[in-house]
Amino acid sequence: MTGFELIATHLPVLAVVVPLIAGFLTPIVGWIDRRLPWYWVMLAMFVVLLIAGSNLATVINSGTIHYKLGGWDPPFGIEYVIDLLNGFVCLIIAFIGLMVSIYSLESVKKEVPGKTTQFYSVFLLLITGLMGMTITGDIFNFYVFLEISSLTAYALIAMGDRGDGVVASFNYLIMGTVAASFILLGIGYLYAVTGTLNMADMQSILPSIYENRVVLAALAFFMVGFSIKVGLFPLHAWLPDAYTHAPSTASALIAGLMTKVGVYAMIRFMFGVFTPAFVIDVNMTEILTWAAALAIIVGSVLAIAQSDIKRMLAYSSISQIGYILLGVGLVNVIGMQGGLLHILNHSLMKCALFLVAGAIFYRTGIRNLYQFKGLGKKMPVTTTVFLVAALSMIGVPGTVGFTSKWYLALGSIEADQWIFVAVILVSSLLNIVYFWRIFDNIWFGHPHEIEQIKRDEAPLTMLIPMVILAILCVFFGFFSCYPIEYIFEPLAKALLGLGGAP
């Protein structure tokens, strides 16, 4: 029992250390036996999931966890802070990571032959980076983990389609480096005026110097940097290529997590480093909502124009990120809840959709959605998962997508911004347009050689995670009251500073 208690206090740091050690040991594991890394990654992700779950449970039961790295007191040493916001983002990272790692076995073997060990090593380091970005309460430590996650993401994308993957990765590298430079500049500016790197400490010092232009510049740098990282509309150019040409497994992981952690960081910086009043005062939230509304519409319209399924999903991601940021930018409790809930929903749905795209590609080698004719009979389970996730994306009642869109619409009404209600509705209709083309081909399209269609389902290791994600899409559609009651409502209130400890 003492052993468990001993570990229990150190869970925050273990969430970062476990994937880090596991990632660096992967080459040795793969050297012993080529097949081992898959089991190794699953084991590591499972441990990380347990740690993340336990952390979130502790936060819900007994409040924010503070962990002093090296025993140094906060403003001087690095502090890991877990509250509801990053507790739940960590859980999403660990869960999606586990699902994708289960799925990866066959897909990685086929798409990155001979490099599976490297792939898994980088995979775990990406999880390390994302976990670290989420957990840390130190603004420079955040930057270090941001770089870890970015570099590993470039590497994963470059392992994809021969040639195109490298170009996409290079584009992302340039854009990502520009973004990271903006963020680093912002951090430097804030450090120059406050003399501290601890987020909580910074938040307490900043209000007295808000009229300082340097602070304003820092906020602008952060917002531009993170907008590139999350692929907010005018700064999204790297995103479609990167998602399209990465290996299927990496696409699912990056689409499911990278942008969500970027959004988390944006929320954390707006409300956890600066204060809500200041961010509203300088009109940053208003700019954010309009950019988000634009992203929602433009992302959906561009998605309609695509014929490659992964590219279509990538454009759809741009529009979905818009939903999250719209909810955040509305700065009222309901809208914020919708935005936060959409982080969870979008991770589940988009990860499921990318996994399906990968499974179809694995079995048939097809990515052009006009060639999907007859797939409904060939791969019934896979296509059903696709149906569920796509319906959720559209926002059909009974799926998660409906709940968050409902909250977003209510939030827009409360903010007296009816135009955003219209945006959400129009975008949902556009979603139907681009998903319907696929439904139409999968179930109603007749291939020329209909007799040749045999049931040829994806392997079990691929089916299990996809089905789990689809079930969760429906489960949270009906039972979203629990996460909302325990996590999102107190969280939204705490973020906006409306009473209640975070």
Binding site: H10, V13, W31, G70
Partner: protein, 150 residues
């Protein structure tokens, strides 16, 4: 191997320089706790020494000194040393990387010093291994490089 690398002067100079560069790297690593330097810088210098050797004597010769398997093992062990030190602090009841919690010597400050050195050594090993593997990965295979240089 190409002609430039066959120059006796270059070969001899490199042969003499490599051990001194490595010694300097060790100095930088061990100096990290008490002055400018540290695991990363020292690791880079150490890796640079081996890269210099591989550049002059050829990739194949370089790989003979530093095989891929050894490289992988070093990259993993270095970080494991770092993490194990951190975890040892946890086991001894401190926070992650709280060196003075480890009851190794009567003086906690001295324990901190030695454990920081240990962590720096771990980081140095990983950095040197990764530097070298980056160089080998980017460099073209021996046969191709000959064609290019002709």
């Amino acid at each position: 191997m190409s002609r430039i690398q066959e120059s006796v002067i270059i070969r001899t100079v490199v042969r003499i320089m490599v051990p001194f560069i490595q010694l300097f790297a060790l100095y930088v690593i061990m100096h990290g706790a008490s002055g400018p330097g540290g695991g990363f810088q020292g690791g880079v210098i150490f890796g640079a020494a081996i890269i210099l050797y591989a550049m002059i004597y050829g990739i194949a010769e370089g790989k003979r000194k530093m095989s891929d398997a050894l490289d992988k093992i070093l990259a993993s062990t270095g970080l494991t040393i770092f993490a194990a030190t951190g975890l040892a602090c946890i086991v001894c009841g401190g926070m992650f990387l709280q060196y003075n919690a480890v009851p190794l010597l009567p003086d906690p400050a001295l324990v901190s010093k030695y454990l920081i050195d240990l962590v720096e050594i771990g980081i140095g090993i990983t950095v040197l291994a990764v530097m070298i593997s980056l160089f080998f990965d980017i460099s073209p295979p021996e046969s191709e490089s000959e064609e290019v240089e002709e």
